[in-house]
């Protein structure tokens, strides 16, 4: 009996323990990694909370009424004018010009690269677009002010085109967004199954007819996603408009006139000495919150489209 016991106690004959071994170190590491993952959620919450808090203070101000905010067209929070429209219209005008430039160009570039160019040409041409995408926006601002504006002035005359104007900022912004739209559209185009193209060719379609009547419609949702991301990027772009579009809110629909956008306004006002708790300070957060929400919604829509699109072809 005693002998049996010692054998049982002997390590060799102990029955295998199949329970998972406790490893506190592993759990600690996993917890830390999880916290790092949560960090991104924390950033989003912090953005919403901080922008929301200050924006709440701004809208809580008795002078700021809904009617004034959306019903008047002068924005000067310091002296009690709270009409948001001049900032919104100039943002819309610059972004529209940018999209007007970058969507057709970007789409054409994407079609050329994905349907026409040989693999060799593609690998030679794509880096050029990548360089264009990697140039800092402040450099584009320099380009807009010191190249595009003089160019516009020499075409339309110095009387019509002001030194700071929305048109040149919008045009250069279009160049900036072009690589984004072309690369996203190209991804969408090359995701279209080859069988569709072969089918079109078999029916006697030319390359152009295949690209535009078969491949393009099939990739339309992906191109829509690219367009939406482009709009979101244009609305949030700051440096080009801060340098070239003018400083001072101006309610105008003439693209050759100076008018400050939402982002440009934030950059100019926050660049100066700004006292906390002033109406100027809180108003900036209200604008930033609007920017954040608009771009967030656009990004979510675009992502939704891409996810749906991916499921269809894979």
């Amino acid at each position: 009996m005693k002998q049996e016991n010692t054998i049982m106690e002997n390590q060799l004959f102990r029955p295998l323990d199949l329970k998972k071994k406790m490893r506190p170190g592993e759990s600690v590491i996993q917890a830390l990694l999880f916290i790092a993952g949560l960090g991104s959620i924390f950033i989003t919450l912090a953005i919403v909370y901080e922008l929301g808090k200050e924006a709440w203070l701004f809208f809580g101000n008795p002078d700021v009424t809904f009617a004034k905010f959306f019903g008047t067209t002068t924005w000067q929070p310091g002296i009690g004018h709270f009409g948001i429209w001049p900032l919104v219209t100039s943002t819309l005008i610059t972004s529209s010009i940018a999209i007007f430039v970058s969507l057709p160009l970007g789409l054409a570039v994407a079609l050329f690269l994905s349907e026409y160019a040989s693999p060799k040409a593609r690998s030679a041409l794509k880096p050029i677009l990548e360089i264009l995408a990697g140039i800092p926006t402040v450099v584009y601002g320099y380009f807009a002010l010191l190249f595009m504006t003089p160019l516009l002035q020499s075409i339309f005359g110095k009387q019509t085109v002001e030194v700071y104007n929305m048109a040149s900022a919008g045009l250069v912004m279009g160049i900036m967004i072009l690589p984004l739209i072309s690369s996203m559209s190209e991804d969408a185009l090359s995701a279209v199954p080859r069988a569709l193209r072969e089918g079109a060719y078999a029916m006697g379609a030319t390359k152009f007819e295949t690209s535009v009547q078969v491949v393009l419609p099939a990739a339309l949702s992906g191109i829509g996603a690219a367009l939406i991301i482009g709009i979101s990027r244009a609305i949030g772009e700051t440096m080009i408009v801060a340098i070239a579009a003018g400083s001072g809110p101006n309610f105008t629909f003439n693209p050759f006139k100076a008018a400050e956008t939402m982002t440009g306004h934030i950059a100019r006002i926050s660049g100066g000495d700004l006292s906390y708790n002033s109406i100027d300070y809180t108003s900036l957060f209200a604008i930033a919150l609007m920017l954040f929400l608009v771009t967030l919604i656009l990004n979510l829509i675009s992502q939704g489209i891409i996810n749906k699109f991916r499921q269809r072809y894979e």
Binding site: L113, T238, Q303
Partner: protein
């Protein structure tokens, strides 16, 4: 019978319609190609515009006549003579101040020469011309200068010089440099990386290696993708509210005994920039980890390694080059980003080197912005030079990233 039977052309008509279709196809192909040409031309125009601004004729006058200081022509002076002139003509207070910043006899000849021009002779720039004008309208410019500014000297000048890289900020464009701006950018990027790289890699490891497909993890993933699309100026506002204002005792260094600053420091800027590049780093690191073959993990699990041992000893070393490539790309994003720095409060006029995380700072893109928005054309010239510096910096970083990527691709 098909009512559309005669819809399709036959015989001669067929050939004509085919010809039409091929013509329109080739026209459209040309149009598509010209879009690409427009993109390339824009890039060329941009680069040309920048280079055009950084070189060219300058017409300037000396405020004080150089012959007052030296009988020899200025460029024939050697270092000792320059030193003597400076010593003799600067007030003793000013000289001691310069001496304290950096001993005079350890400074190079070109620095002393610049000092002589800046402090004693003093230059007054009248007008500048672009490189193209200077080359093709040279005679006309010379005539114009002779007529408009009879006193002035005309000189072909490269605004981008070694001196430009090594001198601090100055209120005169002729003597301004980007030294403080480059140092500020480096400090800021360093802090951003220290902050974002560990957290970003950790998050990527969690999402790729640990996370199961539940609701929370899906939200984290969507959220990261969305954060990458948030406008940079919104990050600036976040930095202003949290790092500059709420955490002021920490970011101004008051907790550590620094008293002479507010929250608008390098530390705030670096943390803001770190927040901005975090999603970028996570997404890139995820891609790198994803590309490590599953067989490696299974082999590690097969010999009884725990999950963390697998990650630490097998997944991470193999994903490291990819993660580094991603961080280099994040760095190049951070170096070029301007808007958040304006909001967080980069100072535009800083002439002393940043001495630590709690100093005020300026950065390269901030200087470019500041100089571009000045009215005088000589500031546009130094803005162009600073842009060239910035672009070369970015090009080097991206080339390094590409090289790294190619080396890794060979290994598998």
């Amino acid at each position: 019978m098909n009512p559309n039977r005669d819809y399709y052309p036959k015989g001669e008509d067929l050939h004509r319609s085919l010809g039409r279709r091929y013509r329109s196809a080739s026209i459209w192909q040309t149009l598509f190609f010209s879009a690409l040409v427009i993109a390339i031309l824009s890039l060329a125009a941009l680069l040309y515009n920048v280079i055009d601004g950084a070189f060219g004729y300058v017409a300037f006058e000396y405020k004080n006549d150089p012959t007052e200081f030296s009988t020899k022509p200025l460029d024939a002076l050697n270092k000792q003579e320059l030193l003597d002139i400076l010593k003799a003509n600067l007030s003793s207070g000013a000289f001691t101040k310069l001496e304290n910043e950096k001993p005079m006899d350890t400074r190079s000849k070109s620095v002393l020469y610049t000092l002589l021009l800046e402090r004693l002779i003093q230059i007054d720039t009248k007008e500048t011309w672009s490189m193209t004008d200077s080359i093709f309208r040279s005679a006309k410019i010379k005539a114009e200068v002779a007529e408009k500014y009879p006193e002035a000297k005309l000189e072909f000048r490269s605004w981008l010089t070694p001196v430009f890289l090594t001198t601090p900020m100055s209120s005169k464009a002729e003597f301004a440099g980007v030294r403080t701006a480059i140092l500020g950018s480096l400090w800021m990027v360093g802090i951003a990386l220290l902050f974002a790289l560990p957290i970003g890699t950790g998050a990527a490891i969690y999402l790729q290696e640990y996370a199961s497909k539940n609701f929370l993890n899906r939200i984290i993933q969507t959220n990261i993708n969305n954060l990458a699309g948030v406008p940079s100026i919104v990050y600036g506002m976040l930095g202003l509210a949290i790092f500059v204002r709420a955490l002021e005792p920490f970011t101004s260094g008051r907790l550590f005994g620094v008293t002479d600053s507010n929250g608008r420091t390098i530390l705030s800027a670096g943390l803001t920039m770190g927040t901005l590049v975090l999603p970028l780093i996570i997404i890139n690191a995820q891609e790198a980890i994803k590309s490590v073959p599953d067989s490696l993990r299974q082999a590690a699990f097969g010999v009884g390694a725990t999950r963390w041992q697998t990650v630490w000893h097998h997944v991470l070393p193999n994903a490291l080059p990819g993660i580094l490539t991603g961080s280099i790309l994040a760095v190049s994003r951070a170096i070029g980003e301007t808007a958040p720095l304006i909001v967080v409060g980069a100072s535009t006029f800083i002439s002393i080197d940043p001495s630590g995380p709690f100093s005020k700072f300026t950065a390269l893109p901030i200087q470019i912005f500041q100089w571009t928005t000045r009215a005088q054309s000589e500031f546009h010239s130094i803005a162009a030079s600073a842009i060239i510096v910035l672009l070369i910096l970015l090009l080097t970083l991206n080339a390094a990233a590409i090289l790294l990527r190619n080396r890794v691709q060979k290994k598998y």
